[in-house]
Subunit: 133 residues, 3 copies
């Protein structure tokens, strides 16, 4: 059987929790060796990728208000665990800019793409299912 390919689209911070729960249940159901999962965050949802430690340094040295530390410890722990299971976390560069987040302020496991919508369109063209939790 070919791998089940899925793109999860998250554009609101409050939807992260259910998105990660959806992914965990999905992995439990079909097994991580049978799936190819990407999570594309754009809009305000990219704040969950911000590394709170790096943001604090930036905030203390500038007047800009950053959108940091949105992700609670639980979310971070789950994202780390899912990354190790092969889930790819992706951020829209436009959205990071909108939130005044430099790319060196986000977690290292996050991949940045030039535009989130382009990524979603391309993935669907490659046969990924689209899910908006």
């Amino acid at each position: 059987m070919d791998n089940l390919k899925v793109l999860f689209h998250v554009n609101e911070p409050e939807r992260w929790k259910r998105t990660l729960l959806n992914i965990i249940n999905f992995l439990n159901d079909v097994g991580q060796e049978n799936v190819d999962i990407e999570v594309l965050a754009n809009g305000a949802a990219v704040s969950a990728y911000a590394n709170a430690n790096k943001c604090q340094i930036a905030e203390s040295s500038s007047e800009i208000e950053h959108s940091c530390g949105i992700a609670s410890g639980d979310l971070l722990e789950q994202m780390n665990k899912l990354t190790k299971m092969g889930v790819r976390f992706v951020a829209c560069r436009n959205s990071l800019r909108m939130k005044s987040l430099d790319e060196n302020m986000i977690y290292s496991y996050v991949t940045v793409v030039s535009a989130g919508i382009t990524e979603i369109v391309k993935k669907q063209a490659e046969g990924y299912a689209y899910i908006k939790p």
Copy 2:
């Protein structure tokens, strides 16, 4: 012409009303003989599948708080009518557990799948359009 295949994804209780209205308008537009419709509910939206009568019995004999009786009479009537027109209503088992709903507490026309996300991915792979009302 091949049938138009659609999967509606509902994960919030307040979106049931518009989802059923979307389906009714769609059926009126193209005719029930030309469509293949599945409604997949996960998350809090599965509460609408709870049979209020069976839930009350369960509640009176246990201390567990069940998520019952969310669906109003109107929704139930519409779901019944749509079931007779061939629409399939499906629930995610993980979500039922999360809401403390035993499978014998939900309406008999509802099919239960092991994981809602797996069902959505498989249906898209089979050529179903995905709609999130």
Copy 3:
């Protein structure tokens, strides 16, 4: 390369702003000559298509409450600009009726289809990616 085909689905008025921003960023990323974009509005989101001037005339000559003038000047300006760049704006006729909007009360660049869901299903069958901003 084939054009990237995308259908954006908007069913809540408050999601117009982010939808148009998504489209602008997408066009900036890939270029308008490489995309085929349709925006399908149903539900309460069709109010943004109402031409405030025509609505005021209708309101002053009737007792019916119309859902007009929801779109702010910024949104209108963006829609006009995007129309000139080839983006197609489409409305669900059922939703217009629900909002008491006659077809002569909406902007001329909007195309009306008999049922929004049918349009979404057909576009996905034609290879359009589906995005719900």
